[in-house]
């Protein structure tokens, strides 16, 4: 009963908290930040002797120009979106999951092992079993730092980061040792899986797994914005003590947020294995989770915003490598552009306030000068 009465009050509290929402002003700042970041990128290109307009044209052409490129961009969007939502779910519950990379590796490995061992079974059985295995492996690996945080107050940021490296090395050990395939020509990878998704657009990375990603994103969006659990998570993330007062088991929600986050990462691992590589390989992910994490941070962990921003970042990532091929400039310049966007957006409130203080000071000075002149 008491919980029901408190909820409206909590809702009001969240509405007041400025950092929680994507206001029009925030979106305007985001637009300015993106423009500024592109200008910084252009400056670097000029310094290195490249034509920025040509480079950026190559970037957008490389990401959207051909159906194949567009397919790759969409596939990348799905990855970024799922990892971004994974970060958001945990962050909204008040716990940071920086270990998505490790969870992704374990998810992918579990899916690859199941996919190879079940050879001969109907395709849908294999897919479902691999999905369950991936989600379970990812969730389990996220549960460990979650429980350590809740029960022992061990800093989850540090443990999850360290567990990333541990997982990547462990998977590398398994793929080079006990699980190494007997197939020739594969230097380090597991046995190939029995079924895989076929590409929707020819030669592109876009494949049937996009529907799984779509469904997962929809579920998470519903969970975060429309369900009671999502609401409780939001409150827990905003103010843990207040949530406890309202009868919410904050520690349970934190673990739930962490585990769901890990499950999503495991799912991304499975999609990589089933959609692209057809087996587990040692370099399954090139920091995909970190890219998603950035998207989530920029969009303040808002599910819908994450989905839109994922598309933009996918254009940058896919276009970046195309730009390297056609314009000759190193594609890493795009990473710098992305980092600049994040710096500006993280400091958005502070910069705006500093500007306001600065202009107020100038106004005061000017009035003083005028008065002195009169």
């Amino acid at each position: 009963m008491s919980r029901l009465r408190i909820l409206p009050a909590l809702k009001a509290l969240i509405a007041i908290k400025p950092k929680q929402k994507l206001t029009a002003q925030y979106l305007l700042s985001l637009f300015i930040a993106i423009v500024l970041a592109f200008l910084v990128g252009a400056g670097i290109m000029l310094l290195c002797g490249y034509d920025p307009i040509e480079c950026y044209a190559a970037l957008f052409r490389g990401a959207l120009g051909k159906p194949r490129a567009f397919g790759n961009t969409l596939a990348k969007t799905a990855t970024l979106c799922l990892t971004g939502l994974a970060m958001s779910v945990a962050a909204k519950a008040g716990i940071f999951n920086v270990g998505g990379e490790g969870q992704l590796y374990f998810g992918g490995l579990a899916a690859a092992v199941v996919g190879a061992r079940l050879a001969g079974a109907p395709a849908w059985v294999i897919v479902v079993c691999a999905l369950l295995a991936a989600v379970f492996a990812g969730g389990l690996y996220a549960w460990v730092p979650g429980i350590l945080k809740v029960k022992l107050k061990v800093n989850e940021v540090v443990t999850t980061i360290l567990l990333n490296s541990a997982a990547i090395y462990f998977c590398s050990y398994l793929t080079n040792g006990p699980l190494k395939t007997a197939e020739r020509g594969i230097s380090s990878g597991t046995d190939s899986i029995a079924v895989s998704f076929s590409p929707i657009i020819r030669l592109s990375n876009l494949n049937g797994s996009i529907w799984i990603a779509f469904a997962a994103a929809l579920i998470i969006w519903y969970l975060m914005t429309r369900s009671t659990a999502g609401f409780e998570m939001k409150i827990t993330g905003a103010n843990e003590r207040f949530a406890k007062y309202g009868g919410i088991r904050a520690d349970r929600l934190m673990i739930a947020g962490m585990v769901i986050s890990g499950m999503l990462c495991g799912l991304v691992g499975m999609i990589e294995v089933f959609g692209i590589h057809k087996r587990f390989i040692t370099n399954l992910s090139a920091g995909y989770y970190f890219d998603g994490m950035l998207v989530a941070m920029i969009m303040r962990y808002q599910p819908f915003g994450v989905i839109v921003m994922s598309f933009f970042f996918a254009i940058l990532t896919i276009g970046g490598s195309a730009m390297e091929l056609s314009a000759g400039i190193s594609g890493e310049v795009i990473l710098i552009v992305q980092a600049v966007i994040i710096f500006f957006m993280a400091a958005e409130g502070g910069i705006r306030q500093s500007l306001r203080v600065w202009s107020a000071k100038r106004r005061v000075k000017r009035t003083h000068a005028k008065e002195a002149g009169v």
């Binding site: 800093n155 980061i161 710098i336 400091a347």
Partner: protein
């Protein structure tokens, strides 16, 4: 197994621990003013690159170190500007610095040196190795302690200096106060933000220096992502060293020992497992420290 457990293992321990020690000292400074800086990983990586750049361009390791110190000061000011002045989320800024470092170093590596992956060559002048004849005359200690590169000794001096600074000087008192009781410091007429700026500049310098040890001391090359999460290990060391320089030093030494042991055990155990060990041990240590603290609290306190 005598090829694993010998004096060289201890010398290797010192070498592998040094980047973590330096980085942890930097991280400790910001930790004491109340900021957890996970951007030290990126600062280390950038330090490693600019050390090689300075050393290569001018053909002297001194210029490498000068480059790194200038870089460290700039990074520290940058970090201060964003995380304190603009009051952004320190965690987000830390992650962004790491991303920037990953992108910038690879970009510069390809643009300036025109290579992919790693850069090495005779043009890079490594840090000098110091030999102390008086030390070498002592049988066991001599082999372990003498003949290390410059920054190994610098890191030991810095451990003592940091401890002296934090606990024996008024400045250190103010530094700690700006993290623990900023209002009290303000009431005493000091500006806590000033202290935080000092701490983040010190952090920038030491974290960048740790990178210089990686690329000019431990190895004589730069390779992409060569910091390999050592910065994060340093953050963990600061946490279970309780923010006290000597204890943080011991924690980093433990990491170095496991790292060095792993390198030498590769004959017997798969390389991936030995590479994994330091990270797993660090996580386990973090848990153990919490459990130990709990037990201490539970014991009935006598004399009250």
């Amino acid at each position: 197994m005598s090829d694993v457990f010998n004096l060289l293992l201890l010398q290797n321990t010192l070498r592998t621990a040094t980047p973590v020690v330096l980085c942890a000292l930097g991280c400790l400074m910001t930790e004491r003013v109340g900021i957890m800086n996970i951007g030290v990983e990126g600062m280390m990586l950038m330090g490693a690159f600019f050390a090689v750049l300075g050393s290569y361009l001018y053909g002297s390791w001194v210029m490498g170190i000068v480059f790194v110190i200038v870089l460290g000061i700039l990074l520290g000011l940058f970090y201060y500007l964003f995380s304190i002045k603009f009051r952004s989320d320190e965690f987000v800024i830390g992650v962004a610095i790491n991303i920037l470092a990953g992108g910038l170093t690879v970009f510069l590596l390809r643009t300036l040196f025109g290579v992919k992956g790693s850069f090495s060559g005779p043009g890079i002048v490594p840090l000098p190795t110091l030999h102390f004849t008086w030390l070498e005359s002592i049988p066991v200690l001599g082999t372990i302690l003498s003949g290390n590169t410059l920054l190994v000794y610098v890191s030991w001096v810095l451990v003592i200096l940091c401890w002296l600074l934090l606990y024996k000087t008024p400045l250190g008192f103010h530094l700690r106060a700006s993290g623990e009781a900023p209002e009290a410091l303000r009431a005493a007429g000091k500006n806590p933000d000033r202290m935080k700026m000092l701490a983040s500049v010190l952090c920038g310098i030491m974290a960048s220096l740790s990178g210089a040890h990686l690329s000019l001391g431990y190895l004589t090359m730069f390779s992409e992502n060569m910091s390999a999460s050592r910065g994060f290990v340093a953050v963990a060391c600061v946490i279970f060293g309780g923010g006290n320089p000597p204890r943080v030093f011991l924690a980093a030494l433990l990491f170095g020992f496991i790292d060095a042991l792993g390198l030498r055990m590769q004959k017997y155990i798969p390389a991936d497992i030995t590479a994994m060990a330091p990270y797993v041990v660090t996580v386990v240590m973090m848990v153990v420290v919490v459990l130990m603290k709990r037990r201490k609290k539970r014991q009935p306190q006598e004399g009250r």
